[in-house]
């Protein structure tokens, strides 16, 4: 029998299942400063950074990784800030999705990101998952990396050797692969200023709201430039140069939208998997890009 708080009411005995755990063994450190974390990371080739853990703990539970040491950066307040610098939104690496949802600054300075948050995992996952963690995990169908790539965000990487800043398309190298070296920590993500006259749209197909996207698309319409991005269709979220070029210098009317959507579908080379065939993803790319362009421009394509 147990009391409501779990205190054992009868004599304690050794629990036979207590040693049956899923993750492989590792040591654990919780540094008090970024410099301490960087030193620890540099001193051990098999050490790994632990942020929110909403992508990485499943990896450990499946024993797909066996780090010698987990360096928990959840205590580093310096990486938890949301700020506006030179008109651009800056997100510390351990900013949680929940913090973004609660942030009036995010709603005002990047409405696309604020909208996409509702598609990022579930309530309980957003309460702990971080922007830096999911970016470092680099799932090709994740929403935050896709939004950051479309906006042209920059990723700040630090190590004891110094720091460097990479644009999103040089940070994300492929499925679950980033430019992070073994001794580097992703510390900040910097968005460029959001133009006041910008129009945008975001669409995604997923089995349930909050699941990883089977396919997603987003567009930005600025005076003189249209950006189109598809995610979940390849090894990383990518802008579509041919579809974008078809709209350059052109009035965004029904014919232009249909042509760009068709080019988007032709331009991607998706894989088939357990969730959807490659053909389905191509067909849906056309539909989602058309919907995004229609919504962002206000041009009626489907009666």
């Amino acid at each position: 029998m147990w009391s409501a708080s779990g205190r054992r009411l009868r004599a304690s005995s050794a629990n036979p299942r207590a040693d049956q755990v899923k993750p492989p063994p590792f040591d654990y450190a919780k540094p008090a400063s970024l410099s301490e974390a960087l030193e620890l990371l540099a001193s051990d080739d098999d050490a790994k950074i632990l942020a929110g853990g909403q992508s990485f703990v499943p990896v450990l539970n499946f024993r797909l990784a066996s780090p010698s040491l987990l360096i928990d950066i959840n205590g580093l307040a310096e990486l938890g800030r949301i700020s506006l610098v030179d008109g651009g939104l800056r997100l510390g690496a351990i900013v949680r999705y929940r913090d973004l949802e609660d942030s009036e600054l995010v709603a005002a300075e990047n409405p696309l990101l604020a909208h996409a948050l509702h598609h990022i995992a579930h309530y309980q996952i957003r309460n702990r998952g971080t922007v830096g963690g999911s970016s470092s995990h680099a799932d090709p169908s994740a929403e935050f990396p896709a939004v950051s790539a479309l906006c042209g965000a920059e990723y700040v990487l630090q190590s004891i050797r110094g720091s460097r800043v990479l644009p999103a398309d040089e940070f994300f190298l492929g499925a679950l692969t980033t430019a992070l070296e073994a001794d580097e920590i992703l510390t900040e993500i910097r968005f460029p200023p959001w133009p006041r006259d910008r129009r945008w749209a975001f669409e995604e197909i997923a089995p349930r709201l909050g699941d990883f996207a089977i396919l997603g698309a987003a567009v930005l319409l600025d005076p003189g430039e249209t950006r189109i991005l598809v995610f979940g269709a390849g090894d990383r979220a990518s802008r579509l140069p041919r579809a974008e070029a078809a709209l350059r210098g052109r009035t965004l009317d029904k014919a232009a939208i249909l042509e760009a959507a068709k080019l988007a579908s032709e331009e991607i080379e998706p894989q088939g998997d357990i969730h959807a065939t490659a053909e389905y993803r191509k067909a849906m790319a056309e539909v989602l890009v058309e919907r995004c362009l229609e919504r962002a421009s206000g041009v009626k394509v489907v009666a």
């Binding site: 147990w2 708080s5 779990g6 899923k22 993750p23 703990v57 309530y123 309980q124 909050g210």
Partner: protein, 160 residues
Amino acid sequence: MTPRTVKLRVNGEAREGQAEPRLLLADFLRHELHLTGTHVGCEHGVCGACTVIVDGRAMRSCLMFAVQAEGTEITTVEGLGTPENLSPLQDAFHRHHALQCGFCTAGILTTMTALLKEEPDPTPDRVREVLSGNLCRCTGYIPIVDAVLDAAEKIRAAKA
């Protein structure tokens, strides 16, 4: 790896236990603190059965290590009510038949308890959105949504 002592507050009481770094919070609660109301389903963050409230926020206890819970305040399903004195949410689940086998229920109760504290008057759509983080394979979600909305109304009325 050597076990460490983890000190935290669970359901309003100071507790401590031993955990090597790789021990998941869910397993720590169940096997070390013997709070078996927290259920372990998928163990990779998909099903929501292991959800507990950590410092006011609903989180997956299978995606946290016990050592990370040092110094936190945790509420598990055991802390919500007792069989003789159900919480308003538990009482609504009872009246609406919002559970069948009960395996997923602890995680849904903790999730919705946290939600109703943050948002006392959620829309049906908001309840459904939050509930998308919990899988139930037998009852169906309609009575669960009804129970949460009913409980929300009763909690608001009691405070008015």
